[in-house]
Symmetry: C2
Subunit: 284 residues, 2 copies
């Protein structure tokens, strides 16, 4: 089954376009693990608590790699739980390398091993041959989200550079649309999607023009400052084609609320996000 | 001690600019592990066999991630061996993400944990704020190699796009040079380096103009088709500033040679590469 069809089916079943970003921060300036939690226990409790309101989890590899071998074991454990809960899994890995290396990354994140997910995020800087090894697994029901326009403050530094075909990110968008047009599901959307940061709504509108048949994964909702309306700006006329990620605003929803326990606070935040996004989707 | 000074010191001590790329392919079209070897044993024997001829190892994360938790444990084991052998370690991770996530990647690959190395490769597509969390660890003796111009067939697709400041990759090179100028070692080279593929010698010459004080890591020697002369094109007038990686041509040197055992064949290939690069460095 095409990955886009899998997403749409899940979306209908759960009446949700919410993805839980599993980005367990360590400490320092970012909120860290609550006292008494191991990395794996914290993430698993959060995933389980939010499962009814979300369609997918998007673990961010960095936070597991930062914990070494134990972190990677936790990552594998979280994926096992997500599969049991029938949630889609998106490895937020942002990988991309020369062909044989990208093929190994594709095996890692779209294969049957410990770290195998339903979809993976990829970085386009090396060009198509860094992406094609991932694309070769799409016929097995796998999905790809290529970074096109990111949500960070300096995303414009290179992505907005003017080229004869428009800003760099628009060139990337056109190429992703081209590759994706060979992998349309029955829903009319492609299994090759794009990451478009929600902090730039004008880019979201332009992205939809350039990517009319691509799933768009929108990060930046919540802690990164984008509103629900910003987040669904890239939706198609029928409200489809966009899935929205929140990480810190769900995982750390318990903070500052005396007496609230982390999983219950996360579940409430995920459900509130689901409802809010559905309201703005319906009227947009 | 500044990472560039560490590299130069090692280079003088060993009279070598060779890096061993530890890219243990799995199977399929690429050469895989020899019969009877585990991933960790194969890599460790190769590193130990080549240690006299090389200054650093550059493990490619993809090939370890593709093996799941056990692969990551092997990666950690190889790093421990390399440290014992007093080799520099460069995590070929090509990471890059929004700030807090890049900070976690920096902790993973430049920190004290299981996967901590001396340097890491980073991807510039997200702009400076994806690179700065890595840069913050440079004062601790750590190094960074940013992808600037890669060696794969479609590297030109985005990297060569024309902008008002020249091709995209030249804009990236200028930015990396700018960031790097704050981190010069006593040798006059910066701890912030660049990856410039050796399969495009004309780019190597231009890269040196744009990156006059940056270490350049050159992949593509050997199996990817670049000659020794191509590989040192980006060297400075005194022959410094370039370190050259080979992976498959060393790891799989035993192939097609009846009776040769893998570590001995690798040691011979690494030593031959060291001598060849020194010869062309001397005359270039």
């Amino acid at each position: 089954m095409n990955f886009a069809d899998r997403v749409l089916e899940m979306q209908r079943k759960k009446d949700s376009i919410v993805i839980l970003g599993v980005d367990p921060h360590l400490d320092g300036k970012e909120p860290g693990l609550p006292t008494g939690y191991t990395l794996e226990r914290f993430c698993c409790e959060m995933v389980e608590a939010c499962a009814a309101s979300i369609i997918a989890i998007k673990p961010q590899l960095a936070f597991f790699e930062a914990r070494g071998v134990e972190g990677m074991r936790a990552f594998a454990g979280i994926l096992r739980l997500a599969r049991k809960l029938e949630l889609l899994t998106i490895a937020d890995a942002k990988r991309g390398d020369i062909g044989p290396t990208s093929a190994a990354y594709a095996t890692a994140f779209l294969g049957d091993g410990d770290f195998g997910c339903d979809a993976v995020t990829v970085n386009p800087y090396l060009g198509s041959d860094a992406i094609m090894p991932f694309v070769r697994l799409v016929p097995q029901g796998k999905g790809i989200f290529a970074l096109v326009k990111t949500s960070n403050p300096s995303s414009g530094e290179f992505q907005d550079l003017a080229t004869p075909q428009g800003p760099l990110w628009e060139c990337v968008a056109r190429r992703i649309h081209g590759i994706g047009s060979d992998f349309l599901g029955e829903c009319g959307l492609s299994a090759i999607g794009a990451v478009i940061g929600a902090t730039y709504p004008e880019h979201a509108r332009r992205a939809r023009e350039l990517l009319p048949s691509n799933l768009i994964l929108v990060p930046g909702y919540g802690a990164q400052g984008a509103s629900a309306i910003d987040a669904v700006t890239a939706a198609r006329g029928d409200g489809s084609g966009v899935i929205v990620n929140a990480s810190r605003s769900i995982l750390y929803a318990y903070r500052g609320k005396a007496g609230s326990n982390p999983p219950a606070a996360a579940a409430a935040a995920a459900e509130a996000m689901r409802i809010e996004l559905n309201q703005v989707r319906a009227v947009s």
